[in-house]
Amino acid sequence: MIIHHPLLGPRDASEFTYLGDAALIHRPDWEAEDALDQFIDYGYLRSNPAGLHRELWFHEGGDRSWLVVTRDTTTHEITKVELARDVARQEGRSK
């Protein structure tokens, strides 16, 4: 597979380490009333779509960026690649 790194262009997937669902960015608030339940969902419940999937890849053999890769799990077509840090900020992880 080839992942089009937003800064470095096409790179072989062998340079990357896979983590999984990009929903892992959304770590719950530890002070929420139902924090324990939220963390259990966060830790153990994952979607497993046949189709587009947003997932985290780490460019371990490259620039050490975490990326959010949107990949079709049925064809391996990659439709979008973003820096995870940008995604995290856009999705409210800044404070």
């Binding site: 470095l8 790179r11 072989d12 062998s14 053999g61 490259g62 620039d63």
Partner: protein
């Protein structure tokens, strides 16, 4: 600080007292030890200040993603977002990191990397034939000024292209022997 006593004798990454040089066919492989290295990472919110500091130190604009710049003595290459490796002669800049810290004045995090890496320079013609046996990075498309981290025989290495006849490989120092073996094997296979 007292004078350096003569029993603290440095070793090269390959374990010798002098850098190793091998020549095979058109390619010369040289162990390069006279390189001081410091990583330079911008602090959050101070990216432009940090870049200005680095550019002033280098005397050239800082390299973009995937690029390197080379000065007379100083050089730098991009290693990640807002992050570079700065290089200088070890003989004159052993304390490169310490020199950069006051210049950055809190705008960047600077870490000494002098001995984290072994460096091998490949000089000669036909280097693309060697590198196509080593890593997925397309050396044939390089004209000079490219820098990337890639995997060579399972080792995460920086490949920095000065020009098509001069390419530097920086790998983990503890695996200098394995990296040297991989490079020599590829040179013998290609030429």
């Amino acid at each position: 600080m007292s004078d350096r006593s003569n029993d603290m004798i440095p070793r090269t990454p390959l374990g010798g007292t002098e850098p190793r040089v091998d020549t095979h066919g058109p390619v010369t492989l040289t162990e390069v030890t006279n390189t001081a290295i410091a990583s330079f990472a911008s602090r959050l919110g101070q990216e432009s200040t940090a870049q200005d500091v680095l550019a002033k130190f280098l005397g050239t604009p800082v390299p973009e993603a995937g690029r390197a710049v080379f000065g007379d003595a100083l050089g730098a290459f991009w290693t990640g977002p807002d992050q570079w490796m700065v290089t200088a002669p070890h003989t004159s800049h052993e304390d490169l990191a310490a020199q950069l810290v006051p210049l950055a004045n809190g705008s960047a995090s600077i870490t000494e990397q002098n001995d984290a890496w072994c460096r091998f320079d490949l000089l000669g013609d036909g280097l693309a034939d060697v590198f196509e046996r080593l890593c997925p990075f397309n050396i044939r498309a390089c004209s000079g000024g490219e820098a990337t981290r890639t995997s060579i025989d399972h080792l995460g290495c920086f490949v920095v292209v000065a020009d098509p006849t001069h390419i530097m490989v920086m790998g983990p120092r503890s695996s200098a022997g394995s990296l040297h073996h991989a490079l020599m094997t590829a040179i013998r296979s290609a030429h």
